[in-house]
C-alpha cells in the first residue's frame, strides 16, 4: 500500500466531554501550536543573540492537575498571591497544554556587560558581591534559598527572557490560540522540576475553547467555576430525582400529569 493511501480517514472533534477521544483530538492541535510557540520563544531577540532559553511542554489531565495543586499550595505562602494563584490554578485545569519557559543563564552565566539593570551604578558588582564566586565564576551548587527565588539574577538575561515568552504569546495570538503568561504557573513548574536549569520561569497555559479560560474571571473563582458547577449538578440532581417526584409514581404505568399535559 502506498503511503498516500494511508493518509485517509475521519476525525470527529468536539470539546465535550472533556478528555474524551474527540476532545483529545482537539487538544492535539493545541499542543502542536504550543510547539510552534516554543520555537518562537527560541527565535526572539536576545542580547547578543546568545542562546539561553529552555522549555517544557506539559499536557494531560493528571499532569495539569499536578501543576494546579502545586499552585494552590504556593498560594498560601504569601497573602498577595493567594487570590491570584487560586484563580490561575482553575485556569490551568481548563487548559489544553502548558508551555513552560525558563532562562538558564540568569544566574550562572550573566551578560557581564556592567550595564546597571540589576543594581544601577554598581554595575555587575551588585550581583557578583551577593553570590558565591571564584575568579568571576558563579557557583550555583548551593541551591538553598530563603526566598522563593534565588536572587539576585542578571536582569538583562531576565529582560531577554521577557522577549522569549512574549514571542511565544505573540505566536499563540497569531494562531488564534488563547494563551496567557503567568508567574504563578512558572513558579509551580519550577518547584515541580520542569526546565531544570532555569532559576526563573514563566508558564503559558494555552487552550482552544469557545471561551478563553484566561479572561472574565469571576470572584472566588476557585469556588465558583465550571468544574464545581458541573460537580454540584451531579451531586444534586441524583437527589432531586428522588425528592422532587421520582419516588412517588411508577414511570411505566403512571404519569402525575393529566389529560393533554401527559
Amino acid at each position: 500500500m502506498e503511503k498516500f493511501d494511508q493518509q485517509r480517514g475521519e476525525e470527529y472533534v468536539k470539546d465535550w466531554p472533556r478528555f474524551s477521544a474527540q476532545d483529545l483530538r482537539r487538544r492535539e492541535a493545541t499542543i502542536q501550536a504550543a510547539r510552534l510557540c516554543m520555537n518562537a520563544a527560541l527565535t526572539a531577540p536576545m542580547a547578543g543573540g546568545v542562546p539561553q532559553i529552555e522549555a517544557h511542554l506539559v499536557y494531560g489531565q493528571e499532569e495539569l492537575e499536578k501543576v494546579a495543586r502545586r499552585m494552590e499550595s504556593l498560594a498560601y505562602l504569601n497573602d498577595k498571591w493567594t487570590k491570584r494563584f487560586l484563580s490561575e490554578a482553575v485556569m490551568v485545569r481548563e487548559s489544553d497544554v502548558i508551555l513552560f519557559l525558563g532562562n538558564y543563564r540568569a544566574i550562572e552565566t550573566p551578560l557581564d556587560a556592567n550595564c546597571g539593570m540589576c543594581g544601577g551604578p554598581q554595575g555587575c558588582a551588585f550581583m557578583y558581591t551577593r553570590r558565591k564566586t571564584k575568579m568571576g565564576l558563579i557557583d550555583i551548587t548551593d541551591r538553598r534559598s530563603e526566598t522563593i527565588l534565588d536572587g539576585p539574577m542578571c536582569a538583562v538575561r531576565v529582560d531577554d527572557f521577557g522577549y522569549a515568552w512574549a514571542s511565544a504569546v505573540w505566536m499563540a495570538q497569531t494562531l488564534l490560540v488563547d494563551a496567557r503568561p503567568f508567574m504563578s504557573v512558572g513558579l509551580a513548574g519550577q518547584k515541580l522540576g520542569y526546565c531544570p536549569d532555569s532559576p526563573i520561569m514563566v508558564g503559558i497555559p494555552m487552550a482552544t475553547l469557545s471561551k478563553s479560560p484566561y479572561q472574565d474571571i469571576n470572584l472566588d473563582y476557585h469556588l465558583i467555576n465550571m468544574d464545581k458547577m458541573i460537580d454540584n449538578t451531579r451531586k444534586n440532581f441524583v437527589v432531586n430525582r428522588q425528592t422532587a417526584s421520582g419516588i412517588n409514581f411508577d414511570y411505566r404505568t403512571q404519569d402525575p400529569r393529566s389529560g393533554e399535559e401527559a
Binding site: 522563593i148 539576585p152 536582569a155 504569546v169
Partner: protein, 278 residues
C-alpha cells in the same frame, strides 16, 4: 490618479508601522498587570541629538559605534529610519510578592535600596524588579513582532535607548529600549553593509583575535602559548597578556566621557523641557 514614488510610500509606511508597533507594545501581555509603558516615536532631525550622543561614546564603545554608524548613515541619506523609544520605571515594586529574585528578601527592602543607592548604570538604571523587567521586555518584543509582521526591519537597541536617555528623553524611566524601524532594504540592522566603510579590515581582525583568542592559540603545553595572529606566527611570537588599563587608556576613556557629558549638557535642557510642559 496619483503617481507615488516607492521611496515616499515606503517612508510613509514605516511611519505607520511605527504607530502599529506602539499599539502592539501597549497591549503586550503583562505578568504584573501594573507596569506603565511610555512610548515616543522619534523621527528626522529630532534624532540628531541622539546620534551626536552615540557618536561621542563610540570611540570607547564598539557596540555603540556600530549602532551610531548605522543611524548616522541613514540619517545623512534622509532615509525613513524611525526610532520607537520604549521606556519604563522598573526600580520600584508595589507588588509585595517578596520573591527574592532581585536579591532582596522583600519588595520593601528592594524599594529602600533603590531609594538610597539606585541610579543609572552604563546602559540602564537599577536596581530593577525582575517581573517588571519582563513586562517591559514583552512590550519591546511586541513592538518588534508587529513591525516584523509587515516585513519592516526592526531591532531593539539598548545602546540607542541609553543615548536617548543620555540627552534627556523619558526622564522618569530607568530603562529604555530604542526599537529602530526601517528603512526598507535587505537586512538593514543585520549584516550591516552600510557600516563597511566605517570600520577598516584591521579592526575586524583585531576584534576577532581579542574576542576569541583561544581559536588562534598555539600548542598550550608550554602553559604560555603564543597567539597565531599572523601568517608566519612562529616568527617573533606574540602572546596574550592581561593587565589593568594603562594611564593613557584610562585618560582616553575619561576624556571621551567628558565629551559625552558636554553633549548631554547641550541637549538635556531642551528635551526635558518638553516633559515639564506636558
Amino acid at each position: 490618479m496619483a503617481r507615488i514614488k516607492g521611496g515616499d510610500a515606503a517612508r510613509e509606511a514605516v511611519h505607520q508601522a511605527a504607530g502599529l508597533a506602539a499599539v502592539a507594545a501597549y497591549r503586550a501581555p503583562q505578568l504584573t498587570g501594573r507596569l506603565d509603558i511610555q512610548i515616543e516615536i522619534i523621527t528626522g532631525e529630532d534624532q540628531d541629538p541622539i546620534i551626536e550622543f552615540a557618536g561621542a561614546l563610540a570611540p570607547i564603545s564598539p557596540v555603540m559605534a556600530f549602532d551610531y554608524q548605522t543611524m548616522k548613515y541613514f540619517r545623512e541619506k534622509n532615509a525613513p529610519l524611525v526610532c520607537v523609544l520604549i521606556g519604563a520605571r522598573l526600580d520600584r515594586s508595589e507588588l509585595n510578592w517578596d520573591c527574592g529574585g532581585c536579591g532582596f528578601p522583600t519588595c520593601a527592602e528592594f524599594n529602600q535600596y533603590a531609594k538610597d543607592n539606585g541610579g543609572p548604570g552604563t546602559l540602564f538604571g537599577g536596581p530593577s524588579c525582575l517581573w517588571k523587567v519582563q513586562d517591559f521586555a514583552a512590550a519591546c518584543d511586541f513592538a518588534c513582532a508587529a513591525a516584523s509582521q509587515y516585513r519592516v526591519d526592526a531591532r531593539p537597541m539598548g545602546t540607542i535607548g541609553a543615548a536617548c536617555g543620555g540627552v534627556g528623553y523619558q526622564p522618569e524611566c530607568t530603562s529604555r529600549i530604542a526599537v529602530l524601524l526601517g528603512p526598507p532594504g535587505d537586512f538593514i540592522f543585520f549584516s550591516r553593509r552600510q557600516n563597511r566603510d566605517a570600520f577598516p579590515i584591521e579592526q575586524h581582525i583585531q576584534s576577532l583575535l581579542r574576542t576569541s583568542p583561544t581559536h588562534w592559540q598555539a600548542f598550550p603545553g608550554s602553559t604560555k602559548p603564543c597567539l597565531k595572529a599572523k601568517d608566519d606566527w612562529w616568527n617573533e611570537m606574540e602572546y596574550v597578556k592581561w593587565e589593568p588599563m594603562s594611564d593613557a587608556e584610562m585618560g582616553f576613556v575619561n576624556e571621551t566621557m567628558g565629551k559625552v557629558q558636554q553633549v548631554a549638557m547641550k541637549h538635556v535642557p531642551n528635551i526635558t523641557a518638553w516633559y515639564k510642559e506636558e
